[in-house]
């Protein structure tokens, strides 16, 4: 992985409480899995930032290596990998995601 790619990823996840590496943008997701995570975060009214990995091949491959996680989307909360689409969906359905976001003061209700 290129040094500047690693620096960019580190900066994004450390300066944003909730950051999503996704295919496309929150308004125009280009993959069903990415879209699902966006929908969950939007529903929970959790503010988040995102990186469109399709815009940069270095980031697309770099994030997989960085996280040791082979798929996209990847959701980071307070600098920690929370999961991909399946985990986030499961955590949302069980209420665990809401609990964690509340504990970390990201959402209030």
């Amino acid at each position: 992985m290129q040094k500047n790619t690693k620096e960019m990823i580190t900066k994004e996840i450390s300066s944003n409480d909730v950051h999503l590496f996704m295919k496309g943008t929150p308004l125009f997701p280009q993959c069903g899995f990415s879209s699902t995570v966006v929908q969950i975060l939007t529903y929970l009214e959790a503010p988040f930032t995102s990186t469109n990995v399709l815009e940069d091949e270095n980031v697309r491959e770099g994030i997989k290596e960085f996280s040791n996680w082979p798929t996209i989307p990847q959701l980071y909360v307070k600098g920690e990998l929370m999961g991909g689409c399946d985990i986030i969906k499961e955590m949302f359905e069980s209420g665990e995601l809401q609990k964690i976001l509340k504990e970390k003061s990201i959402i209030s209700k």
Partner: protein, 78 residues
């Protein structure tokens, strides 16, 4: 860029011996599957760690041979 349901089952079974695996073919195109894996190896691990074991079992296939795999992990009870 695809694999059959049997190939997927065999890959997962080899990588996670002793687990109960169910695979659903989501689109019939050899590229979109949902797998439910019950294993004792998941005990004491969080979801990220559990899914990483599944990805380890798939090795290089994930993201290359196989595009979309939805994973659900559960702990196998005695």
């Amino acid at each position: 860029m695809s694999m059959t349901k049997d190939e997927l089952l065999e890959t997962l079974s080899n990588g996670l011996p002793g687990s109960e695996i169910q695979i659903e073919d989501l689109a019939g195109d050899g590229d979109h599957y949902a797998a439910t894996i019950k294993s004792k190896k998941f005990i004491g691990l969080n979801k990220i760690q559990q899914h990483k074991l599944v990805y380890d079992a798939l090795g290089e296939k994930m993201g290359y041979t196989l595009h979309a795999l939805s994973i659900k992990t559960e702990i196998l009870e005695d």
